[in-house]
Symmetry: C2
Subunit: 219 residues, 2 copies
Amino acid sequence: VKTIGVLGLGVFGSTIAKELGEQHYDVIAVDKDLIDVNRVEEYVVQAVQGNFTDIELLRSIGFSNCEVVVIGTGSNLEASVMAIMNCKKLGIKRIIAKAKNRTHMEIMQEMGAHEIVRPEKEMGDKVARNIMRNNILDVITLDDENSIIEFNAPERWIGRSLKEMDLRKKYKINVIGMKSDPDGKLAINVPPEEKIKPGSFIVAIGNSETFEHLDYTDQ
Amino acid sequence: VKTIGVLGLGVFGSTIAKELGEQHYDVIAVDKDLIDVNRVEEYVVQAVQGNFTDIELLRSIGFSNCEVVVIGTGSNLEASVMAIMNCKKLGIKRIIAKAKNRTHMEIMQEMGAHEIVRPEKEMGDKVARNIMRNNILDVITLDDENSIIEFNAPERWIGRSLKEMDLRKKYKINVIGMKSDPDGKLAINVPPEEKIKPGSFIVAIGNSETFEHLDYTDQ
Ligand SMILES: Nc1ncnc2c1ncn2[C@@H]1O[C@H](COP(=O)(O)OP(=O)(O)OP(=O)(O)O)[C@@H](O)[C@H]1O
Ligand SMILES: Nc1ncnc2c1ncn2[C@@H]1O[C@H](COP(=O)(O)OP(=O)(O)OP(=O)(O)O)[C@@H](O)[C@H]1O
């Protein structure tokens, strides 16, 4: 079982502390605010009220046993930077830090944080993509070329089967599932001969550019 | 071309304004802070300095033409609530609002926002999943049951073909692609007879619980 450290219990930090704690990880959580500490107490193995810029405090609670540490302060660069420094001194192998903008991210990377998360930026990207694809509910980028796209079945697909439309050949997309409504259950083993019902949503994997083409040709 | 409104140009709001503006959407962006307004000016069709709780201001800049409005204030519930109210009065059909916690989210939903985004919570979920699957590089939850998982090919799969292992029957997972390294190109049309090379990464879709089972049995 892994020991995970979480420094700073805002929404980001406490979400992580709670989810890992519920999955049987040993979580050591630190925050200077007692309310935040109390909120995660039932989920974690150690909930400590204190200032994590103090390396002796971290040492005294066995923090060097953590294999991964998440630094969940966003608004205070000084606290984040001192936290990263302390983690490095304690020999932490994987430091994940939250940053609120590119400048802070670059500084934290320079300090030695291994992974940086920018929640507002990353969710902004996601919402922008969601808005761009108005027939398309969601786009998950797998890598530079391929994406998984969930989209409303175009009018002219209704009543036809996946097999007869031969999408893989025609559009180079691989349909991996269907849903009857956006929040519905995803069926991942759809028989190729099954006719597409009105209002269905298709989930497919393919080249990101192919999907753009699909979006326009179907208007 | 769609007209999109963005109220509040923090990192979240300005990321959206910039990305949609670059993709030829007409973006009307409003913020009370001139620095924030100036930062997006080159990307948007209208960058307005002002207080968006003032409905007359919004009317005067043609805000009712927006088909989608994003409310990007997180820290001020009052401003968000007034912004949602104004959008409803202006007949905006799709209101997307940022919330910092569940309580604010519920209030915004009650007020009539159609979609709520909680960046710190959603990125916290993502980081927690990433930490949990240490052989597993990434987990994308498709819905309550199914996920797409990218994982290191277990030792005993090396040198064997997907076909001979009959993973769909045995583990109920559907392999949709392979990569030769984490940042490498994803090959989505892998011949079933091809032998799995050492160091490969498998990308598969299946039931989330199935993958947990895979994780443990392969240690
Ligand atoms: N030096 C410190 N020692 C201990 N706790 C700290 C320290 N600095 C900040 N914190 C705690 O970290 C938490 C998150 O801080 P901050 O306000 O920077 O993050 P946030 O960006 O608002 O978080 P989130 O967006 O995840 O809700 C707070 O609960 C705060 O009490
Ligand atoms: N009533 C208002 N009228 C106009 N602009 C506003 C109003 N209230 C807040 N803003 C602007 O909204 C922006 C975002 O505000 P806020 O501080 O609430 O968000 P944030 O959570 O820090 O944003 P992010 O996390 O996206 O960086 C700020 O630039 C602020 O100037």
